[in-house]
Structures are given as structure tokens and as C-alpha cells.
Amino acid sequence: MTAFVTVSHLGRSFDVSKPWLNRVIERLPRRRLVAVSDVSFQIEEGAVYALVGESGSGKSTIGRMLAGLMTPSEGKVEVAGADLHADPAARKAARIQMIFQDPYASLNPRWRVRRIICEPVVVAGGATEGVAERLLEQVGLSAADADKFPHEFSGGQRQRICIARALAASPRLIICDEPTSALDVSVQAQVLNLMSDLRDDLGLTYMFISHDLTVVRHMADRIGVLYLGRLMEEATPDQLFERPRHPYTQMLLAAAPMMEGRSRDIDLPKGEVPDPISPPPGCAFNPRCPFAVDLCRQERPALRDVAGVRVACHRAEELAALSAG
């Protein structure tokens, strides 16, 4: 299999300094927030690659950079061999679409559904006859819905309209940024099933961003775990959920609520995600890590292959031996 998307050493920082005058008066330094730092991964054509992480992990920022909506500060994104941010033609050829978290903000409230869905076709200069009706039926709505306004639909139905709009651009890659977090469980199941069906029917590639481990486990072929803008571990769902290698992944799995229920006597996670403006030195997870040693506080671990899994932990081999033994 060839890599369809190659992300190499991607980084993005934001200037979050106070205005110039405040800085001068209060003698504050410039402050930079590093949202994404040195992230590299590949997505294969037709696969579902998931990024999972808590708030401040940089998962949405990566999604936006992959979509071309934001330029990286460092590194590059290559889609089908062409640099997305250096080459304007590459962005067009990549045909990347996005599905957003908030179905109430992602549709223009003043436009009718027909116009919303047909917009990609209009911009590309294609014929719009019957496009909206066909796509509406494909996403499980009725052709008659084309003449309605977005406010006449529920959250799940709006998300279907968003999917229809993305499909109208005949995309190759769809970036799904928390597509079901705002939806109820039963509606989430409908939307996730629809997305799986479309992938099978149309051969789409998904980049799936979520904080919900259960959804990620259900959808993904490969999962990247982010923490404070860094990729901590990358593995297949089975590898990740059965034998998490990185202490952060282990903590995340232990903390996730389990339907199967379980007494909560296990170790609770320590502390909270630190302020991304001043991340801890060395491994970003070291202050919360039960296994941290001096090396972890001094040197940032690189992402490397350990037993078929990519993991950024100095002690990955030791811990693997520990848990095995």
C-alpha cells in the first residue's frame, strides 16, 4: 500500500502575546503557544486514520492544516506526492473536504439545502441538475428536503447534509473533526454507520479526529494518540486497546468510562493536561507519568518502532517487558 497522505515534522505555533502596549507597560515577554510539534504520520489510501487526544492536544489544528485551512509553521503535508501548502494545484487535486463538529455552525443558515449541497459543484463549474436530490438520498434524507432551510433539521440530519456537501466535491480525503460529539448516542450510531457505508461504496479516505476512544476504536484502521501537540503512540486499534505501550495511552484507557462497568479502585489519573504555553521539558507527559525517570524530564523521546507499534517513550521496551512479565 502506498501512503496517500504523508505528514512530516508538522508543527504549528500561535502568537498569544498580549497587545504591544500591554507588553510594554507590564513588561511581559512575547508568548507562543505550540499547538502541534514535530508530528509525522502517513495515511494510506482508503484507510481511516484517527487522531485521539484530550483538549489542547492539537488534534483539530492538525486537521485544519491537513485540510489546507491553516498553514504549518514547520514541516509539510504531502497529498498524493505533492506539497499541499507549497503548490496551489496540489490542494485542488487532493480534493479534501471536511466535516465539522458543530452541525449548527457548519451550514449557512440563510441558504437552502439545495444551494448548500450544490455549492462545490457550482464552484467547480459542473451541472447542478439533480445533484442535491441524488446526494440527499445517498445520505439517507429525502429529495424533498432540498428546498428547506438548515434550521428545519435536527443535529443528526444537519450532519448528513454536511456529508452530502462534502460528497458533492467528489472528495478523496474527508477530514472529520469530532463529527459526532455534538450528537446523541442513537443519532451518532446512524451517522457513523453512514460514514462507514460511504467509505465502502466510494473508497474514501478518512482522517478522523475525536476525543472519544469508543468511537475511534469503532471507526479507525490506525490510531494516533496525541498529547500536548505531540504524537505519543501510533498503532492499530487492536494493538492499542489490547496492549497500550505508552503510559499516557494506558492512563487514557484506564480513565475511559466502561459500559461493562468496573469498580473504580484502579489508579486514577494524576493531575490535568498542563498549559500548552509552557509545556514541561523533556517528555510532555512526564509530570503525570508513574514511570518517569530523569531522562524523561530532560530529553524529548522520539517516535520509534517498538514491537510493531510506533511509540514515543524512553522506557517503552522496559515497560513492555514489565507488563509481559
Partner: protein
Amino acid sequence: MTPPPVLSVRNLVVAIPSRSGTSRPVNDISFDIAPGEILGVVGESGAGKSMTGNAVIGLLDRPAHIASGEIWLNGRRIDALLPEDLRRIRGRQVGMVFQDPLTSLNPLLRIGDQLIETIREHLPMTAAAARDRAVAALEEVGIPAAAERLNSYPHEFSGGMRQRVVIALALCAEPSLVIADEPTTALDVSVQAQIIALLRRLCRDRGTAVMLVTHDMGVISEAADRVAVMYAGRLAELGPVRSVISQPRHPYADGLMGAMPSIAIGQRRLRQIPGAMPRPSAIPPGCAFAPRCPRAADTCRLDPAPSLADDPQGRAACWFPMEHSA
């Protein structure tokens, strides 16, 4: 012998009159919460779960109002109290924790002042004693260096710490009931686990009854002793949390469990319930779930809505509850 319930809700109906008729977002709900028990109230948006919580503490926004039914707190009927008496009961006997900790805290006051004020309002105490109590309350919810943090403002805390402060605030007057409305929804997974554990521990230790309102079955499964599943303003199922999750008797509860992706087994396809929950203004006659129910018969559509009493086991409001071979 079971102790008398802290909270007892009987046939509660909340009505909202409007130009196009009266809707009932909460319709004929009854449940009890025993001391030290956590009752999870779960449902999808619009099911009426938050409205139920607000009705119990008398925080309904007009024109919504309690149309009928009774609410008993520690043996005293509170649904018909004057606003002044109700206000005294809130805080003293009922603590509240909401989704967004920032809405429960005054951003302009130090959290110490907020705690001390709440304590002194409800308990006869000197300022110094109230201060000691505030420190103890913060320590109890796991805030490090509690005495110093009394002087901090809400924005100086992280999200998880803020929610701990809100819990300290809710519990500082030693209420017998806590209503927690989506207390962990805005928090990260790791912090969510901490907050759930904290709520559980505090309630066990003090015998506080908790009404935990959330849309997240995972949270309910971790935290609650019993669970009430709401659908379109009514109780669909009410029972011990393990039984409801593993052997749901109401087809809606069953559908809900099937729709949840599981962390343990990665299955290919999720079971989905066709259609969507009706709006409170357009609830069908008979059983509200009938149009989406795979088991629905004419009885379900024609007869008045079933109640828990129609189930031989008293768990599901369903004419044909699902049987599970043990």
C-alpha cells in the same frame, strides 16, 4: 429495612403552555433516591432529563411550570413552596453541580469568599469557623494547598479544579441531596474519571443522595447505582444500573445500549434506532417510542402510554418488555 428516601418524586408533570398548545417535556415521572444512593438520569437531548432536575429544585424558567405531581424532600413536600422558602432549601438541603463550572462561580469573587458566604448563609457559624470549614471542604475535594487557594479567583483554576471547587461549594452546607447536571461533560476523559470518583466517594462517606443527570451512558455505568432512562418526557426504564445495561427490558434502552460503540470489542456496524425522538410538542399518542419500536403492536399505538407498573418486573414502561434468559 430500607431507610426513607431523601427525594421522592411522584407523578411529576412539567408543562409549557405556548401559542400552539401545551407541551409536556416531563410527563408523569416517579422515582425515589435513598441516602447515599446515586441515581443516574440518562436520555438524549430533549428527553426531559435536565427539566426534571430543574423542576426538583424549583429552577424552571417561565413559562415552564409544575402542572401536577408531588416532590418530597426528607419527608417535606417542596413543590408548592414559596420562592423564598425554596431558595433556603436550595443550598442548605440541595446542592447543585452544573456542566460549566464557570456559571456556578462568581468570576469577580475569590472562591474563599464564595464558600464562606454560602456556609454562613445556611449554617450558624462565625466567620473564622466558616473559614476553617471552607478549607476543609476544599481539602476534601482534593485541592492542594487549600488554605492559600481560598484567595484565588475562579479563572485561576484549571477546568477540573474548578469543577472540584463547584462540588465543594455544593457540598459545603452538607446537603442531603445533590443534583449534578452533566457535571463531567465539559471535562477531559482523565479529569472526568477523577471527578466521578470524587462524587462517589463523597456521597458514600456522607450518605448524600445524588441525582446525576447526563447523556453519557459510560458515566452512568461508572457512577450510578440505579439508572432512569428517559424518553420523550417519560421514564422508559428504571432499575439497577448493571441490569439495565446488560439486560435492558425496554426496547428503547436496548436500542441505546446497542448504539454505543464499545471499547472492548471493535464491531463493524453499530445497531441503530430508526428515526429520531419526537419533539415535546409532537409526542404521538400511546407509547411515545412506538413509531420507532421493532416490537410495537396495535396496543402500543392505541392504548394510553404504559407505565412501569405495566411490567411484571416493574422496570420498563412497556407493554411487551424484553425477556433475557439468565
